[in-house]
Structure formats: structure tokens, C-alpha cells
Symmetry: C3
């Protein structure tokens, strides 16, 4: 039987990987909805299940944190990481509910583009989290974080371009309010992804 010095440290990485997987599934489902335009009641409920799954994962991480004396990195970083990962899914659920409430049923190319950026950002975060186990090789972690920063920038530009385009068409005000809110939501998802990347980078610096 092998001797495990810090079995709980491993547990943290396992829980973060599990959470990353749940978030990735959620972002893929959100992309499906964008592609099909089916933000209907049934799919809102499905999105709620994803949101709940991530809540449970977050709860497990915080509970382990509260019970652990030794942690693989700073307690406050684990805390922040757990909560910001949860925020990604909360935001995706909130956007889904809003599109449903606004009875938007068209397929929107810009929303598909945003859902793709989000999926890419979450994929990069999942990779960075997985690599936190081996801090001797920081290259893939840094590359993933840079990728997330790039995607956040792209999202920022896309949102501005969308709002500019909407305004040029002299839009019906209520419709403008609806779409503005939706795309500010999708951009916020990428902002939160960047926040997660920033926490990961600060973990690297402290261990460096």
C-alpha cells in the first residue's frame, strides 16, 4: 500500500476537475441552445439541473476547504476559485432564463459566436485547472490563461460591435433593451472566466 502524504491535496484537484467538467457540459449545452434557438421551458429546467450540479460541486470544495488544515494553495485562492467557477454557470443559467422570459426564439448568429467563445474559454480553464497538479511545468497553464484573456477581449469587441449594429438599425427600444442585456450577460461570462484565469495566474506567482 502506497503511503499518501497529503491525500486531501489530491482531493482538491479531483473536485476542481469534476467542477470543470460540469461547467464544460453546461457551456456545451448553452451552445446547443444557441444553435437551435430552443430556449424553451424544458431546456430552462435542464439548465437548472446543470446549475444545481455545479452548486453541489462548489459546496463540496468549500466543505473540504473548511475541514482541511493543509491545502495545495492559499485558502483564499481556493475559496475564490470555487466561487468564481460557480458564477460562470449561474450566469449561463440566468441568461438562459432571460432569453426564455423575453420569448426570443430566433437563431442569432452573434449568440452562437458568443457561446463558442464561452465554450473555448471554459475548455482552456479546465486544462489550466488540470495542470495545477504539476506546478513544475507552468507553460500549459500560462498558455491556457493567455487564451482565456484573448477570448475575453474578443467577447468585449463582439459585444460592442453587436450594440453598434443594433443601434444603426434604429431599433425598437424594448428589443434593444432585451438584446443589450443578453449580450452584456454573455460578455460577463467571459469576464468571470478571465477572473478565474487571474486567480490561477496568481497561484502560479505565489508558488513560483
Amino acid at each position: 500500500m502506497a503511503f499518501q502524504l497529503f491525500p486531501k491535496e489530491d482531493k482538491f484537484f479531483e473536485l476542481f476537475d469534476k467542477q470543470a467538467e460540469s461547467i464544460l457540459k453546461t457551456s456545451l449545452f448553452f451552445k446547443e441552445l444557441a444553435l437551435s434557438g430552443k430556449f424553451d421551458d424544458v431546456n430552462v429546467l435542464k439548465m437548472h439541473d446543470f446549475e444545481h450540479e455545479c452548486d453541489v460541486n462548489t459546496h463540496d470544495i468549500i466543505e473540504l476547504l473548511n475541514k482541511s488544515f493543509i491545502t495545495p494553495f492559499d485558502r483564499e485562492d481556493i475559496h475564490q476559485l470555487a466561487h468564481e467557477l460557480d458564477d460562470i454557470v449561474d450566469m449561463l443559467y440566468s441568461i438562459t432564463k432571460r432569453i426564455n422570459l423575453y420569448k426570443i426564439q430566433e437563431i442569432n448568429a452573434d449568440l452562437i459566436q458568443f457561446s463558442d467563445y464561452i465554450e473555448q474559454a471554459v475548455t482552456s480553464l479546465a486544462k489550466a485547472l488540470r495542470c495545477l497538479r504539476k506546478l513544475k511545468n507552468v507553460r500549459p497553464i500560462i498558455d491556457s490563461c493567455i487564451e482565456v484573456n484573448k477570448l475575453e477581449n474578443l467577447g468585449d469587441q463582439l459585444k460592442d460591435a453587436i450594440i453598434g449594429k443594433l443601434l444603426e438599425g434604429n431599433p425598437e427600444p424594448i428589443l434593444f433593451i432585451k438584446w443589450k442585456e443578453i449580450f452584456e450577460g454573455t460578455e460577463t461570462v467571459l469576464d468571470i472566466c478571465e477572473d478565474v484565469a487571474n486567480v490561477i495566474e496568481s497561484i502560479l506567482v505565489k508558488q513560483g
Copy 2:
């Protein structure tokens, strides 16, 4: 003369109880305004007095925290608790000012319903804070926190229902903007109440 081992610990509980009482008074006043529709200049000033009273309470808690070596629970939890309790009243004041600015004078049934949820949530938080003194009996604390979570869910559903209803009536855009902002505000109050409940629950876990 009885010997007090940690007199300052008692002081923390006293200050939190005082703050809970001030917030409860504020939420009752907000409900009165909703019931009467009188969000006039005089009542905005009265609400400002409540807001100032809670500011003073928050200041007293933080000052005690900065002066104390021994605290009844984690320093950061006391800090967060104090600031989030303050946020509840800041938000109620901000909504009151906004309704006044928007010259809304009608009595609105949904606003009354929200003010009732808020009063119930604040009552539950006050109870949970009072019970933090006796951590051996966690049941009433947990029940109060669950109650707050329920009310936050109800508020969330109510806000969505209100916005859906507004949209069905093909509303005048400026009026839609006004009411949307007001009800997003009242929902935010319940979100902050839930944040407070989450801090309280995390205190339980750490002491558990």
C-alpha cells in the same frame, strides 16, 4: 461580580443584534411606503436616517473588529457579515430614492409583495444572528437560513413574472425601464439576504 472571560465576544453579538434590529425597522418602513405608495421627499429623508443608523452600526462592528484579538468567529466572516448587512439597507435606500425620482406614486401590488418577502427574510436573518450565540443548538439557525433561501427563490420567480407581465402589455419603453430597475433592485435585496445566510452557514460549518 461575575468574571467575564471574553467580554468582547458578547459585544460582537450585541452589535449584530442592534444592526439586525435597525435593518428590520428599515424593512418595515419600506413595506409601509409600498403599502401607502408615499415615496415622497419626506420619506426619502426618513429612509436616509435609517441608512445612516445602519452605517453607524456597521462602523461600530468594524471598529470593534479592528481592536479585538479574540473574535467569536473568523475575522473575515465578521467583516463580510457586517458589510453585507449594511448593503441590505443601502439597497433599500437606493430603491426608495429611485421610486421617488421616477415620480411613481401608484400603489403597486407586486412591490408590496416584494416588501413583504424582504421583511420576512430580514426577520429570519435577525433570528439566525441572535442564535449564533448558542452554537450548540444549530437547528434554528439552519432553519432561518433555509427560509431566506426560499424567499430569495420566491423573489426571483416574482421578478421574472413581473417582467413577463410588463412585456405582455406592450409597455411604454421608459416605464418598462423604470419598473424593471425597481424590481431588479428589490430582488437584489433578497440576493444580499441570501449572501448573509451563506456567511452564517459557513460560520456553522467551521465551528461544527
Copy 3:
């Protein structure tokens, strides 16, 4: 050669002074834009350069923090101070981009007034930060923080007055949305300045 006991402590003050100077330059540039109404593409790029300069300064402070065992005040206060100072400039950049996107080219007296409040608040913060070196003389620090609180209050009143004025004119909804967003942005800048002042005051209390 003089012996320096805590050379790194000095370094923190130097970096904060540098950051304060960069933010002051940014707020002066924002005021220039308000005065000229030239929120054009070239000036958005210039504002981006300021924003990047402040990002670098923030990064330098956080890096020094992560490398230092001895810090002139609480680690979490340095962290919060650094990030909130950065938020001031992020917000000014975001407002600038928004005015550009909204193709607003008129010179607006209220925007000029706000840009003046912001410049005054940042000047006071710069003074308070400079005086943190000599904590024996707290008077100028406290006075500067009080000044920032006053300016935040003025900004709050100004924003409400502007929105009230806009509504009286029975505005075109899209135009109302644009200006409301811009002035909520400028008020948020002053809110963040007040947050910075609050951190500075809490540093005083802890050292007091």
C-alpha cells in the same frame, strides 16, 4: 551608505504613488475629452494606453506583495487598494468606449461637471496615498478621505438630478438608455474612489 531596514516597504509607497500619478493623468485626459466632446477612435486608443499603464502598475504592486514577507500594512488591504485603484481607470476606459460607441459628440455640461468631480476625488486619493508614509500625522489623510466622500455624495445627487431632468423632457427611449448608462458609469467611478478612501481609513484605524 545608509542602512535601510525595510527597503521593500518604501517600494510599496513608490508603486502606489506611481499608480496614483497614472490615474490622475487618466482622469485629466477624461476631463479633456468631456470638455472637447472628442470621444473619437483616436482618443479611445489613447485612453486604452492609460488603462494599460495602470494595469502594469497594478501588476507590479501585486507581484511585490507576493514576494514580500514584510508589508507596510495588512496584505489584504494592499491587495484591495491595488485592485480598486485599477478599477477606477478600467471604468473611465469603459465609459469612454461607450460614449464612442453611442456616437455621442455633443459637449455635455453635466459630463464636464462629473469629470471635474472625478479629477478632484483622484487628486485627494493621491494625496492620501502619499501621506500614508507618515502615519504619525493622520490629519491630511483623514481630510482627503472626507473630501472623497463629499465628492461621491455630490456625484450621487448630480446623477439623480440629471436623470430627473432627462425624464422631464419626455426623452427618446434609446437616448435615455444611453445617457443613463453613461452617468451611472461616472457615478460608479466616484463610488470606487470612495471604496479606496474606505480602505485607507481602515488602514489608519488598524495602525491607530
